[in-house]
């Protein structure tokens, strides 16, 4: 390892690394958007028990749950360009950011689908029946009654997943994305103070984590205000 430990450097490094925090948020936001779409696409066939599609969805979820995110990242990074070459689309020169967002979106989507599924099934049948009884169509009943309630039920689990994936964005540098961790590697190389770099990174991730947690807990209070007995 490099030179002797200098705790003062951490204060020096944190602002430098913070300059790259937007990359983390960008990956996360892109992944969440893709993830929501994938989550519903995967959850709906299983909720409505559509044969074949439901089985494919189950295998997809099992694969996502069964493999490390790093392996998923490599599979998409090396595999997707090959796959698209078959239909004569060349994406091999696209930025590694693209591959990270796609991978994380596909991955978080698989786990989102499980949360969505559990939340939708936990809304009481009586809610749907009441919606039907006042003349709503199944689609309108789902959108207006079931979905808002499932969102409130699902939010804590969605929040946990999002925070977990936020931490996993630290692996994006392994295919060359210049995020905080990527910048940390170069900073470590130029200064030979890797340990201080990693401690600085840990502090930043921790702060981002606390920030996300407080945002989510505020959201939870908002969307589940109807459950409070008094107030």
């Amino acid at each position: 390892m490099g030179k002797s430990f200098d705790i003062g450097l951490i204060l020096d490094f944190i602002p430098k690394l913070l300059g790259y925090v937007h990359v983390t948020f960008l990956i996360l936001a892109g992944a969440i958007l893709i993830g929501i779409v994938i989550g519903f696409l995967v959850a709906l066939p299983r909720l409505y028990r559509i044969p074949v599609l439901a089985q494919i969805a189950a295998v997809y979820v099992s694969f996502i749950r069964g493999t490390p995110i790093l392996i998923q990242l490599f599979l998409i990074y090396y595999g997707l360009p090959e796959l698209l070459k078959l239909v004569s689309i060349d994406i091999s020169q696209w930025s590694s950011m693209f591959f990270v967002i796609v991978t994380y979106g596909l991955s978080i989507g698989g786990l989102f689908s499980e949360v969505i599924r559990a939340a939708v099934t936990s809304v009481e049948r009586g809610q749907t029946e009441a919606a039907y009884s006042i003349g709503m169509s199944p689609f309108v009943a789902f959108i207006r009654i079931v979905l808002p309630q499932s969102f409130a039920i699902a939010l804590p689990n969605l929040a946990n997943l999002i925070i977990a994936y936020m931490k996993d964005t630290s692996l994006a540098f392994s295919i060359g994305v210049m995020d905080m961790t990527g910048r940390g590697q170069t900073l470590g190389t130029t200064t030979s103070h890797f340990l201080e770099v990693y401690i600085s990174l840990a502090v930043i991730y921790y702060l981002v984590c606390i920030l996300l947690e407080s945002i989510f807990s505020r959201m939870e209070k908002r969307v589940s205000r109807y459950e409070r007995k008094f107030g």
């Binding site: 009481e124 809610q127 009441a130 039907y132 009884s133 003349g135 709503m136 309108v140 205000r225």
Partner: protein
């Protein structure tokens, strides 16, 4: 007018409704009585297709549906002619009391929000809950929730309101307030079909009693006839058991 013709419903091999015929005139209050498992709740839920009857014909006003070949459109048409009050209230948990009552008006009947609001407040006044308009269901007692459920049904101004054991999940001391509300709206001439275990209540508010057992109508007629001089042996036995429970107070 509401007509049920030869309604049949089976679950697998088990037959729950064996050809039920009922005619309800405008302003009628029909009480359906019978032991548990007699199929009375299933019959009620068949009317708005929360259960799909296997056979039979349902006519409500100008909507006539052949149950065997009911399309999604038919089902929706029936549901827009009816409203239901549930045993477990089933208020929309994420909406306030006022929003619960307005929901059907704005979303299903496409009424402008202002108008829907006015009607809803009127209905809430009728059930005595104007002051709870902005509360959430979780903040209400069971009796209050059920009164909101009644207001929600009433607001739609349906041809008929279906009551599915509206008081059986309430604490005894809360039953009275709900029965009073139902009695008041019955006197306004709202057509109702009520499945209930409250014998005295059924006798007082209905103008026609239907007694069911094992998916069949055993006996029907005017309340005073059925209660005072039942013809069928089963009906006699049933009412004997309940004689002591007639005392209720509103």
């Amino acid at each position: 007018m509401i007509q049920l013709r030869n309604i049949r419903k089976t679950y697998g091999k088990h037959s729950v409704l064996n050809g039920i015929n009922i005619t309800v005139e405008k302003g009628d209050v029909i009480a359906i009585l019978g032991p548990s498992g007699s199929g009375k709740t299933t019959l009620l839920r068949c009317i708005n297709f929360l259960e799909h009857p296997n056979e039979g014909e349902i006519t409500i006003g100008e909507v006539a549906v052949d149950c065997k070949h009911a399309s999604k459109k038919d089902v929706l048409a029936l549901r827009r002619k009816t409203a239901m009050v549930f045993q477990h209230y089933n208020l929309f948990k994420h909406k306030t009391v006022l929003q619960n009552v307005m929901e059907g008006l704005t979303v299903v009947q496409k009424m402008p929000a202002e108008e829907a609001r006015e009607i809803s407040l009127l209905m809430l006044a009728k059930v005595g809950l104007t002051h709870k308009a902005d509360s959430y269901p979780s903040q209400l007692s069971g009796g209050q929730q059920q009164r909101v459920g009644i207001a929600r049904a009433l607001a739609l101004n349906p041809e008929v309101i279906l009551f599915d054991e509206p008081t059986s999940s309430l604490d005894p001391e809360l039953v009275g307030e709900v029965l009073t509300v139902i009695q008041n709206i019955a006197q306004e001439g709202v057509t109702m079909i009520v499945v209930t275990h409250e014998m005295g209540f059924a006798r007082d508010i209905s103008n026609h009693i239907v007694f069911m057992e094992e998916g069949r109508i055993i006996e029907e007629g005017k309340p005073q006839d059925i209660f005072n001089a039942p013809k069928e042996e089963r009906t006699k036995q049933f009412f004997k058991r309940f004689t002591n429970e007639w005392s209720y107070s509103i």
